[in-house]
């Protein structure tokens, strides 16, 4: 069977839609479905975890964004909500759980403590930001952030997922290039973590030459 010029199939959106065919890029449909079914890890660290539970509660209802399936196992989750203070004793556990999550995986640093140490930054036992060991996608400030803020962070993450390129030459999400990302787990030796940060994901900010003894 051969097609002549007159019998060529009409591929205009109007006629394909009539025939029940939707044309879309694979990226678009993949990102759309992924961003609307983010499964967070049921993983609470401190005060922010209570607000995380509050967000899953009836009033704020995270299910509206397709993220209500809190999984206790890292093997089944896409999103790690680092909800609260990460202490030096807990940081190895957090990195290990991150390593156990399958790709694609995302991280929201929830609350001032997870971002930078927050009010406890001066403490001897508090990690000054989880982004020293694992890459963070969305930073969510607040102490603790309101449930609305967490929903906004989730929407920001959804926007990020919708814009990612998973095919072709310009892949934006490293998960689709390198396979599963596994970062070295720090060891608590003495009174500090070894190494103090992971140079792959974080470098210390440049010192301000105008300040003689700038703080860390």
């Amino acid at each position: 069977m051969s097609f002549t010029q007159e019998e060529e199939i009409d591929l205009s959106p109007e006629s394909t839609a009539k025939a029940g065919v939707i044309l879309s890029s694979l990226d678009w449909i993949y990102n759309w479905s992924q961003s609307n079914s983010v499964w967070p890890l049921q993983f609470g660290l401190a005060c922010c975890a209570i607000e995380m539970i509050g967000t899953a509660g009836s009033r704020h209802d995270i299910a509206r964004f397709g993220a209500e399936v809190f999984r206790p196992s890292p093997r089944q989750s896409d999103l790690m909500l680092v909800s609260g203070t990460v202490t030096k004793k807990m940081a190895p556990q957090v990195v290990r759980i991150y390593n156990q999550m399958p790709e694609p995986k995302y991280v929201i640093a929830m609350g001032a403590c997870a971002i930078s140490g927050g009010p406890f930054k001066q403490g001897y036992n508090v990690l000054k930001g989880i982004d020293r060991y694992i890459p963070v996608d969305v930073y969510l400030p607040g102490c603790p952030p309101r449930p609305e803020a967490l929903l906004h962070a989730l929407m920001t993450l959804q926007k990020k997922i919708k814009n990612q390129k998973t095919l072709g030459k310009n892949i934006t999400n490293p998960a689709y290039k390198e396979g599963r990302r596994i970062y070295p787990v720090p060891v608590l030796s003495g009174d500090d973590l070894d190494p103090p940060y992971n140079p792959e994901v974080w470098t210390p900010p440049a010192k301000n030459p105008n300040v003689e003894d700038g703080c860390e």
Binding site: Q42, F43, G44, L45, A46, C47, A49, I50, E51, I53, G54, G57, S58, R59, P72, G84, T85, T87, K89, M90, Q93, I97, P119, F120, Q122, G123, Y124, N125, V126, C143, P144, R146
Partner: protein, 383 residues
């Protein structure tokens, strides 16, 4: 294995029946039922707990050390983060300690506002605890959603009052930070009036529930003598039948003006601990109704010095009945604006010491609900 040596019930198999060894498992710090970053190292014979070692420190945030480097009022926001479910009572305990040290008078109206806030906090804490406890029993979700629904209403009150939902930072030495906004009391009355209806619903669902009764009665029994020896306080002590409530014993604030009862348990098991909280919420509503009726007009903060400089060598221990038990702050002054020593006596930490004693001989699944019935918050346990 012949039928004669088979134990009567399959799940009572011991290691001797199977020729197996003691199984050691680490539960936590990431475990959905450990109420935060708590770790239990369990030794199991089959499914029975033969030994338990609690390991904590995963949330040690140096509260006590940080407080030594900042002036007295600066520690007030940090107390919110100790037991992050009950910011108001933590504030009150710290304010009470320093007021005792400096002998500051608290005005009448501030005392009433403090009591209203503290009892609202008790409602939040207890209904959330019951939600988590039933969650641990296996009823995933629904009872907790009921509790969260009620919690949101009370958090709205806190938000209009202080600007924050959880970290209220509301009490001040000698009073409270700001007066009640217009219409706050009416809204509070409306919520408190509706609360018993929620409790009725909750009690109908849970109190005589077959599963709740079978799972929690005679589990994790703590006798009155053991409870006193472990220096347990709060609802857990009263569930064992010891009549000790600081609101009645110390009569701090103006608790002696209110008519309320102290519910007592008889068996000291998980079911009693669960029921005590249900009954305490009813008593809290009684106190709230009386306090809202008698709320006087007047100042909200007393005469306080501009700078807090207690004399060197002064020591003080102030304590209140927080929803979890006796919360105390021990302060030592060295004559400067900062405390020389800032010690917290956290109720959940001390209550947790009885965990091993209560768990041994029970199944792993029971260890989870025993932990749930203690009502711990890791921010307070590790400090």
């Amino acid at each position: 294995m012949s039928t004669e040596t088979m134990p009567a019930r399959g799940f009572n198999l011991s290691k001797d029946d199977l020729g197996a060894d003691i199984l050691e498992i680490a539960m936590g710090p990431h475990h959905p039922s450990t109420h935060g970053v708590f770790r239990m190292d369990l030794k199991l014979d089959g499914e029975t707990v033969v030994d338990l070692k609690p390991i904590f420190g995963y949330l040690h945030r140096n509260h006590e050390k940080l407080a030594e480097d900042i002036p007295y009022p600066g520690s007030m926001p940090f107390t919110d983060r100790l037991d992050y479910l009950c910011g108001m009572t933590n504030n009150w305990a710290y304010a009470l300690s320093l007021e005792k040290m400096l002998e500051v008078e608290v005005p009448e109206r501030a005392q009433y506002i403090r009591i209203i806030c503290a009892e609202l906090t008790r409602l939040v804490n207890h209904c959330l605890l019951i939600g988590f406890f039933i969650n641990d029993l296996g009823a995933l979700g629904t009872p907790l959603l009921y509790a969260l629904r009620e919690r949101e209403k009370i958090l709205d009150l806190f938000e209009t009052l202080s600007g924050a939902r959880m970290m209220v930072n509301y009490m001040r030495f000698g009073g409270v930070r700001c007066d009640l906004p217009d219409g706050w009391l009416e809204e509070c009355k409306r919520i408190v009036d509706k609360f018993p209806a929620f409790l009725d619903e909750y009690e109908t669902l849970l109190n005589e529930n077959e599963i709740v009764i079978t799972r929690s009665q005679n589990v994790g029994v703590l006798t009155a003598e053991e409870a006193t020896n472990f220096s347990i306080t709060g609802p857990m002590l009263r569930a064992s039948g010891v009549n000790y409530d600081l609101r009645k014993v110390d009569k701090y604030g103006i608790y002696d003006r209110f008519d309320f009862k102290v519910p007592l348990g008889a068996h000291g098991d998980c079911y009693d601990r669960f029921m005590i909280r249900m009954l305490e919420m009813r008593e809290s509503i009684k106190i709230l109704n009386q306090a809202m009726k008698d709320l006087p007009d007047g100042d909200i903060i007393g005469k306080v010095p501009r700078v807090f400089k207690p004399a060197a060598g002064t020591e003080v221990y102030g304590r209140i009945e927080s929803p979890k038990g006796e919360l105390g702050f021990y302060l030592v002054a060295d004559g400067s604006t900062n405390p020389y020593r800032f010690k917290v006596r956290p109720p959940s930490f001390i209550n947790l010491t009885a965990l091993r004693h209560m768990c041994i001989g029970h199944k792993v699944a029971d260890a989870v609900i025993i932990l749930g019935s203690i009502d711990i918050v890791l921010g307070e346990v590790d400090r």
